[in-house]
């Protein structure tokens, strides 16, 4: 198992290289090169200072070089093994010394004028929180309701759910998000939820748990955070939930009519145990398989949701970076999101091996 994991991790490297290469080249091809619009803006200002700034950037990032060279340089920058480089900012000369381990450097955002690592340290936890919160809810709801629908096959709940699941899956997130924020977080309609952000302004003054303070009841930091997360999470989960519940229902039905269930019944096993002991575990297998697809689609979905609900996560960061053609942020974002995606595929594969004894990675 361990050797399999190591092999998979090694195989990720070419994939990550390919991914970043793809994005890098696309950006390199665009007019204004890598670093894009920011340099263009500076160029248009055309003041002495702006030109100096532009020259600095060009030397700092070597933007006039061949894109392949630039990509190699960027790779070296993010790799954990390499040289220590001294850049002479006046001449653009580089000196390479001390080959060995180093901290991967994700670069510096041109638009935000901050280290990318620093920006990610703020944005990544937000996106991860959103997804880590949503995934278990999706799976729990989908599994329970899927089993319920399968057991009441053909009854009202089942018929209604199978029609509405397709509708739910077809509902565009951008519409649901806009309608939720428009109707439920708006002074003109129902101001039940906060329209933006992850916590209220005064949240950092609150106690962690809700309770009574001198000013009366206070919702506390945790509740405040949950209150802010409700609409985004609802928005993020319904689509994947529809897919998974439908899958669970068919999977349970398929398994309940299988031969081994008949065997179990012929042994005298109770219906309860037939369902939870025999059909349940087998029915989960397809859900684990699609997990590899669910996680990247959740990340993509969180991009839209972070944009709509103004949540400062990776998605919103990406939209902003792309608009500003902030090359370091876009590339680092691709790297991190790609890594997350590949890891989630690996986790799904490993989970599958745990759940299904027929699959082994020895």
């Amino acid at each position: 198992m361990l050797s399999y994991i190591v092999r998979r991790l090694v195989l990720m490297i070419p994939t990550l290289l390919g991914m970043t290469f793809l994005v890098f080249m696309v950006m390199a091809m665009s007019p204004g090169g890598i670093g894009g619009s920011l340099l263009n803006e500076l160029g248009q200002l055309d003041s002495q200072q702006a030109r100096a700034q532009k020259d600095y950037y060009e030397r700092r990032y070597g933007i006039r070089d061949n894109p392949l060279v630039q990509y190699g340089r960027w790779l070296h920058q993010v790799s954990p093994i390499g040289f220590e480089i001294d850049v002479n900012l006046d001449t653009g000369e580089r000196r390479w010394n001390n080959f060995g381990f180093k901290w991967p450097d994700l670069g510096r955002s041109l638009a935000m004028k901050r280290q990318v690592t620093e920006i990610f340290a703020e944005a990544l936890p937000v996106t991860v929180l959103l997804n880590v919160l949503t995934t278990p809810i999706i799976y729990a709801l989908a599994i329970l309701l899927g089993i319920y629908a399968a057991r009441h096959r053909g009854r009202l709940f089942d018929v209604l759910s199978s029609v509405s699941l397709l509708a739910l899956w077809s509902l565009p997130t951008i519409m649901v998000g806009t309608l939720l924020i428009g109707f439920l977080a708006n002074r003109d309609y129902l101001p039940w939820f906060p329209p933006a952000g992850l916590s209220s302004l005064e949240a950092h003054n609150m106690a962690f748990l809700p309770g009574w303070s001198v000013d009366g009841w206070e919702r506390g930091w945790l509740l405040d955070r949950l209150w802010h997360l409700t609409l985004p999470v609802v928005c993020l989960l319904y689509g994947s939930f529809a897919v998974l519940m439908k899958l669970m229902r068919t999977s349970v039905l398929e398994n309940l009519s299988s031969d081994f269930i008949r065997t179990a019944r012929a042994k005298g096993v109770t219906e309860h145990r037939v369902l939870w002991g025999h059909a349940f575990r087998n029915s989960l297998l397809p859900l684990i398989t699609v997990m590899a697809g669910i996680l990247p689609s959740l990340l993509g979905g969180s991009l839209i949701i972070e944009y709509i609900f103004s949540i400062p996560g990776m998605g919103q960061l990406m939209v902003e970076a792309i608009r500003a053609r902030d090359r370091e942020v876009v590339l680092a974002n691709t790297l991190v999101i790609g890594l997350l995606g590949l890891l989630s595929i690996l986790i799904a594969d490993l989970l599958y091996a745990v759940a299904d004894p027929r699959v082994s990675y020895e």
Binding site: M175, G182, L247, G300, M318, V319, R325
Partner: protein, 421 residues
């Protein structure tokens, strides 16, 4: 042993006539092709029929958009007895081409005497002829002067005129004329679905956006299917190194969320491309969406390759092209059709998300772009800008999904497994 042999009797019955009682299957059923059967079963599905009906409505909107919603009257008679046909001055080649092709298509579908192949060929040949003629002959007036007719009317020079049902063009921004922006919808009023930020009519924009939604769906999916089938087919057929490399490529594309990739690609698009932005976005959605088909076709080809009829074709010394495209592809293509119909839905969704985020279409009317303007800067919420375009996206996506589900059931009634992802 002897016991058993002794037990087996030979009563010496006359050999019965085998054919007398076996009824041959009815002729019609035997002659029905797989495709015909699939179409028939699909049309038996209520959901699919509803989906197709909605797409029909959209198609009418897409084809007839310039005649249904335009600021220019169809006919104007001035008080001094002059006749004008302002609408026709602004019709583009595509505007003329689409209705002709649609009428042609309807005519060919209702002509039952010709074979399906003949009808398809006729349609394509006629299509090429119509398209070239239109492109060569029609040069519309470039600069749109919306106020022309209104000024004429204000001056009292119009005796009578016939306007389209929605008398506003999608880009007729009346804000400059002091017209109220963000007018809420009013049935029976001038703007049934209200107006948007620049005073343009929402209903008119909705109608004109049909064309974009439909064409993006079809063309992007077409590109994705072609790439996917080729890459997947090669991977599945050759396996080995090609498969390994191909799978890395597939992995690259499936590990990055499509939306991320698409955003990057769209954002770095050079501004010179802006006149062709719509087409560029179609291509980009196609370029990022092929992975699913490739995986699918690869798996199918891996299965098919081991089957006897493919082995036989190879053993006969048929060229690779023939083995791949004549023997393997038709057997693996039916499920791709199902996937493609879900693919159209997701292509439409992607376009609307891009436009919603403000990196998609610039000047074209798009449902996603309108939805993106529903929440104003100050947090004010224009519900009509969210509800109408949102529902349009929803219905269209739902329609394709319904058709996809029906197709899947029609192709393989036993498979209940969902491949909605």
């Amino acid at each position: 042993m002897s016991e058993i042999d002794a037990l087996i009797p030979h009563p010496g019955m006359p050999a019965p006539e085998p054919t007398a009682l076996v009824q041959p299957p009815p002729r019609d059923q035997a002659r029905q092709t797989l495709l015909g059967m699939v179409i028939q079963r699909t049309f038996a599905n209520t959901g699919a029929v509803i989906g197709i009906a909605w797409l029909g409505v959209l198609a009418v909107g897409a084809v007839g958009a310039p005649f249904l919603a335009s600021s220019y009257p169809l006919v104007v008679k001035t008080t001094d007895g002059q006749w004008f046909f302002p609408l026709f001055r602004y019709l583009t080649a595509v505007d003329v081409m689409l209705p002709i092709l649609m009428i042609l298509a309807i005519a060919l579908v209702s002509l039952r005497r010709f074979s399906a192949r003949k009808r398809v060929v006729t349609f394509f040949l006629a299509g090429i002829v119509v398209a070239t003629t239109c492109l060569l002959l029609i040069h519309p007036q470039r600069r749109e002067v919306f106020s022309e007719h209104r000024e004429l009317q204000a001056a009292g020079k119009v005796q009578w005129s016939i306007s389209p049902p929605v008398p506003y063009s999608p880009r007729d921004r009346q804000r400059d004329l002091g017209y109220p922006t963000y007018l809420p919808p009013a049935l029976g009023g001038p703007h049934w679905m209200g107006t948007e930020s620049s005073g343009s009519d929402v209903f008119s924009r909705m109608i004109h956006a049909c064309r974009i939604a439909l064409s993006i769906g079809f063309i992007a999916t077409g590109i994705a299917v072609v790439i996917g089938v080729i890459v997947g087919g090669l991977m599945g057929y050759f396996s080995g190194v090609i498969d390994l490399l191909g799978m890395r490529l597939v992995e690259i594309f499936s590990a990055i969320p499509t939306l991320f990739l698409l955003l990057t690609l769209v954002a770095v698009m050079p501004p010179e491309w802006n006149p062709y932005r719509l087409y560029a976005i179609m291509v980009l959605i196609g370029l990022t969406g092929w992975v699913g088909y490739a995986r699918f076709v690869r798996a199918e080809f891996l299965k098919l390759r081991k089957q006897d009829f493919v082995q036989a074709a190879i053993a006969c010394g048929l060229p690779l092209r023939s083995v791949l495209f004549r023997h393997m592809l038709p057997n693996g293509v039916a499920p791709v059709l199902v996937e493609a119909s879900f693919g159209v839905a997701s292509a439409i969704m992607f376009e609307s998300v891009l436009s919603f985020l403000g990196v998609g279409l610039v000047d074209e009317p798009s449902w996603g772009q309108m939805l993106g303007e529903a929440i104003g800067a100050a947090g004010s919420f224009k519900w009509w800008m969210a509800v109408f375009p949102g529902l349009a996206i929803f219905f269209t996506v739902m329609a394709y999904n319904l058709i996809g589900e029906a197709l899947r059931d029609a192709i393989d009634p036993h498979s209940q497994r969902s491949t909605m992802l």
